[in-house]
Amino acid sequence: MKIIIFFLALLPLDRLIWLGLTDDLSANPIEFITRSTGTWALVFLCLTLAMTPLRLIGNSVAWIRYRRMLGLFSFFYACIHFGIWLWLDQDFDLGAMFKDVVKRPFITMGFISFVLLIPLALTSTHWAQKKLGRRWAQLHRIIYLIACTAILHYWWHKAGKNDLDTVSIYAAILTLLLCCRIPYIRKILSKRSNT
């Protein structure tokens, strides 16, 4: 099952490569790649956050087995998203990059989201999990913050054009997923499945 999910999760990348080879990445390929990888990073973030509610509802720990891989795929697409921006928008000029990060709130939020994903990716191994013990779970709660900064990044990007339909859907999904973490709602979810 894990191997199937792994290959499914690579499909968005395969698609970009295929479209690139067939010269089909639209008139603005860089924008296309940046937006596509940003969207997929967000989709995998949602999927990652969906595993715990699914476990509670289904009363099955099976879901948790996929959580790490989904989270790492979110990081993977975020890396491409960030890397393309750093390379083709900022030309690897770190000074210019930081100026942009400080000056533009939507970039600030994207940058924070990316930076916060790094420690989570680095400590995703079993070894780190054992080593960190209880602190591991605390550290990985940063994902809730990332959900907020990532959606703000997307929201503010779209706000100028008032084009908020798609981002509202993602915001609603993430809000719902985060609500599942509220102890009271958590209890209801797991109770329902126990009876």
Binding site: S26, A27, N28, D100, R104, H157, N162, D163, D165
Partner: protein
């Protein structure tokens, strides 16, 4: 087909953007917010019959049929750079004539200071009007001297063809030293006014889209830098570096004098 004579005064060394990209990568919110939407959905636009009324502070207000407009002055081909406020650009051979020819025909009154352009807004033809992103119809405007500048083109075609619907058929404005959204598409009304018109994007986000919106690498958009631009279909390939954006999109010789003494950082 549209017969137009190339005007040697408006040629450029820049490589032309392909017809395919010019006609498939468009911002035309009346047909959707995605850049592929106009090419996909603009076929429902009825470009005939079509009239444009010119009204307001003019001696001879008039409503002209599109065929009369096409014959009002000799059709010229001009190659202009087009710089979108989003940070990309194209090089497009347009067909049309200077808007000043039409304005002189209706004779602006001495009190006229601005020109407002109003685009078609018809729900039956334009599926994008369902979104209330913009308070339809789309409105744009220029100061009268900008509208009279020979560069400002009343445009009927591109690449020697009648304007494709997604590019603003049957008649649009092209103002090459300003960001692309200043160039209103599918125009039905031109109004001369004393007051500065309220433009559509200016109403939505005044901090982001000023009335002048001259291409200016020194004035950043609040959400991104305007110092560089990505040339669509750059022959150096998809990973080609961005190119430097020029003041007034490189048309400073023809237009800079109109802004003498103005602080373009404030009046962006």
């Amino acid at each position: 087909k549209l017969v137009a004579t190339p005007n040697p005064a408006f040629m450029t060394k820049d490589e032309l953007t392909s017809y395919k990209y010019v006609t498939t990568y468009n911002n035309f919110y009346e047909f959707g917010t995605d850049k592929s939407d106009p090419a996909a959905y603009a076929h429902t636009l009825q470009t005939r019959p079509w009239t444009v009324s010119i009204e307001g502070l003019v001696k001879k207000p008039v409503t002209l049929d599109i065929d009369a407009l096409l014959k009002l002055a000799p059709m010229e081909e001009r190659i202009y750079r087009m710089r979108c406020v989003e940070g990309w650009s194209m090089v497009i051979p347009w067909d049309g004539y200077s808007l000043s020819k039409l304005l002189n025909y209706v004779q602006p009154l001495g009190s006229a200071k601005y020109v407002e352009f109003i685009s078609l807004a018809d729900k039956k033809q334009m599926p994008g009007l369902g979104d209330n992103i913009i308070d339809w119809p789309y409105r744009e405007g220029l100061r009268l001297d900008e509208a009279m500048n020979p560069l400002t083109l009343l445009t009927f075609g591109l690449y020697g063809e009648m304007l494709p619907k997604q590019n603003g058929a049957p008649v649009r404005i092209v103002v090459p030293w300003k960001y692309g959204f200043k160039s209103a598409k599918s125009i039905v009304k031109i109004r001369l006014t004393e007051e500065m018109p309220k433009t559509s994007w200016g109403r939505i986000a005044p901090r982001e889209y000023g009335f002048y919106s001259n291409v200016n690498p020194l004035v950043d958009h609040p959400r991104w830098s305007q110092a560089t631009e990505r040339r669509i279909g750059d022959s150096k390939g998809i990973f080609a570096p961005k190119i430097k954006t020029e003041m007034f999109n490189g048309y400073g010789d023809q237009v800079a004098s109109m802004y003498a003494g103005m602080d373009l950082k404030k009046l962006y």
